[in-house]
């Protein structure tokens, strides 16, 4: 069985590699476009997937309402930008305020969702919390639909076309570039937060052993809340950025984006932060290649097939730890 898997793997990689190299040589610019498009897509996935993976790491829960937090981020930015636009404010101020409001709102929602839907179920079986998460997701979707509208709303890009970027804009637009750069900055900041700050250390400790964490004086409930807030903030940034990129949003955008980011988190190894980033980039780029070289209609089918394949062959993901190796 093992040998069979290896042969199969080598064969698939070999054929794809051969075809791939042929295609790249035939049209390198097209390949570069697809690659950068995939990188953009992967960056957005990464911003969302971080929330999934951090929450899973700490309370072993798939927070299905996380996609909705991302949608709420985009919605808030749209509302703020429209209102301020009507008042005729300066566009740079609008961008900053839209981001700030989106982050604050999403964080508040993430915090509240945890307090209402998950905290009372802390000691309940995991399935209860999972069902609660799905319920929360449906509630938030419908709530936003009722409060706003079910129609698609145009989202005017908050990010201008930069003058200095014009020579490259046929390969990658300035919005895409902004997405990639922002994501890199967010990742670096998050890395610093987790590696060096007190709350970051508390998060890592609580993820490894909650009882011991409280025995060294860590308030575990506060750490869990912080995790939700941090995850919501990155999701909100992702929401605003993708809305700028796509140009329209509705109450339902969180569902598919959330699922894709979830696949990315599983692909990278759920619970692992570098894994979520790597998984997102791999998923984004391979999706982009698939739609570019094969069939664009089957984009989602491709993503979900990846999920099935990982779950069969490597359930712990690319960088995930095997449960059994835990000490």
């Amino acid at each position: 069985m093992r040998l069979f898997k290896i042969i199969l793997g080598v064969a698939v990689v070999g054929i794809l590699g051969f075809l791939g190299i042929k295609e790249i040589i035939a049209d390198p610019v097209y390949f570069l476009e697809l690659f950068l498009g995939g990188l953009t897509r992967g960056s957005i996935y990464a911003l969302i997937a971080l929330g999934y993976t951090m929450v899973y790491g700490i309370i072993q829960l798939i927070n299905f309402a996380h996609g909705e937090i991302y949608m709420i981020g985009a919605m808030t930015a749209l509302i703020v930008a429209s209102v301020l636009g009507l008042w005729g404010w300066n566009s740079a101020v609008i961008v900053i305020l839209a981001f700030v409001f989106a982050i604050v709102y999403s964080c508040a929602y993430g915090f509240t969702v945890e307090k209402i839907a998950y905290m009372p179920l802390r000691t309940a079986p995991r399935l209860s919390a999972l069902i609660s998460a799905i319920g929360m997701s449906l509630f938030l979707q419908n709530y936003v639909m009722l409060a706003q509208t079910s129609e698609y709303m145009p989202f005017e890009s908050l990010i201008p076309d930069f003058k200095f970027w014009e020579p490259f804009s046929h390969i990658i637009t300035s919005v895409e570039m902004t997405i990639i750069v922002t994501t890199v900055i967010v990742m670096i900041l998050l890395g610093i937060l987790i590696k060096f700050t007190k709350i970051g250390k508390a998060m890592r400790a609580a993820a490894q052993d909650k009882i011991m964490a409280s025995l060294v004086g860590i308030n575990v409930n506060r750490v869990i809340s912080t995790t939700f807030v941090v995850g919501s903030a990155t999701a909100a940034i992702g929401g605003v950025l993708i809305a700028c990129h796509v140009g329209q949003i509705n109450f339902y955008i969180g569902f598919l984006a959330g699922l894709k980011a979830f696949i990315a988190a599983v692909l990278g190894g759920i619970g692992s932060i570098p894994g979520a980033v790597l998984g997102s980039l791999v998923l984004g780029i391979s999706e982009s290649m698939f739609t570019g070289y094969f069939w664009s209609e089957y984009e989602d089918v491709f993503a979900f097939s990846i999920l099935v394949i990982i779950l069969i062959f490597r359930p712990s993901g690319i960088l995930g730890r095997d449960e059994t190796s835990k000490v």
């Binding site: 890592r204 052993d209 025995l215």
Partner: protein
């Protein structure tokens, strides 16, 4: 200093502690001995606030801490080295020690305490950057005790420090426990199955059976007691 009055603790429907009374004075070393499942670890978990008591009270310096959250109890200076050591498996030795000092902000003091524990257990200094989960059992126990010391506890609760360790390491660890008590004036509460060692190290001892304290006396007297000898010392 620490007083447990008529403590009843439940795990679901299981009545684990059935009215425990226990008292520890400042600067003492107390041992609680008993067989598997007698409720020794539960006594510590109730004291630390992880499994709060259903009935009765835990008092620390006159303050009722029965229903205080676990992290606030640590703030008061009651620190536990739990059963199975519970080293953070993916943090390095130094990071584990740093977690022990989580509540402190005095950088210089923390640095001094790093030196202090590296002095107590030089092996930890050599293994500073090694991942906690890869240490041997004895090293993990040393790390667990050191991590607790990093919080500068007033009361140190130790759950089975000898469990699964080679006799020579057990001896070393008990030597250090004694040293901590004498040098730092830390009050120490040891829960042990190794009755001989625990009673020798302790000023006073308690014997526990089926969720109840059945005997209490000085360590010396308990060691000489016929019933204790028969049941726990195998003489």
């Amino acid at each position: 200093m620490l007083k447990l009055k008529d403590i009843h603790t439940f795990y679901g429907n299981i009545h684990a502690l059935k009215g425990i009374n226990l008292e520890i004075s400042e600067g003492e070393v107390i041992s609680l001995i008993g067989a598997n499942g007698a409720g020794k670890s539960t006594t510590l978990m109730t004291t630390s606030g992880i499994v709060p008591a259903k009935q009765g009270s835990v008092e620390f310096k006159g303050q009722d801490i029965t229903h205080m959250p676990a992290d606030d109890i640590v703030k008061l200076g009651i620190c536990q080295v739990p059963e199975g050591r519970r080293i953070f498996p993916y943090l390095t030795v130094a990071e584990n020690l740093d977690m022990g000092a989580f509540l402190r902000n005095d950088k210089d003091g923390i640095k001094d305490d790093f030196d202090y524990v590296y002095n107590l257990f030089p092996i930890l200094a050599d293994r500073k950057n090694q991942i906690g989960g890869t240490l041997s059992g004895g090293e993990q126990q040393m790390l667990a005790i050191s991590r607790a010391l990093m919080s500068r506890p007033k009361v140190l609760l130790l759950d089975e420090p000898s469990l699964g360790l080679a006799p020579i390491i057990v001896k070393q660890i008990f030597g250090i426990i004694k040293k901590i008590n004498e040098e730092q004036k830390t009050t120490i509460f040891i829960v042990e199955q190794n009755a001989n060692l625990a009673l020798k190290a302790a000023h006073r001892g308690y014997v526990m059976e089926n969720g109840l304290i059945t005997m209490t006396d000085t360590g010396k007297n308990l060691l000489a007691n016929e019933d204790v000898k028969k049941a726990y010392l195998g003489i």
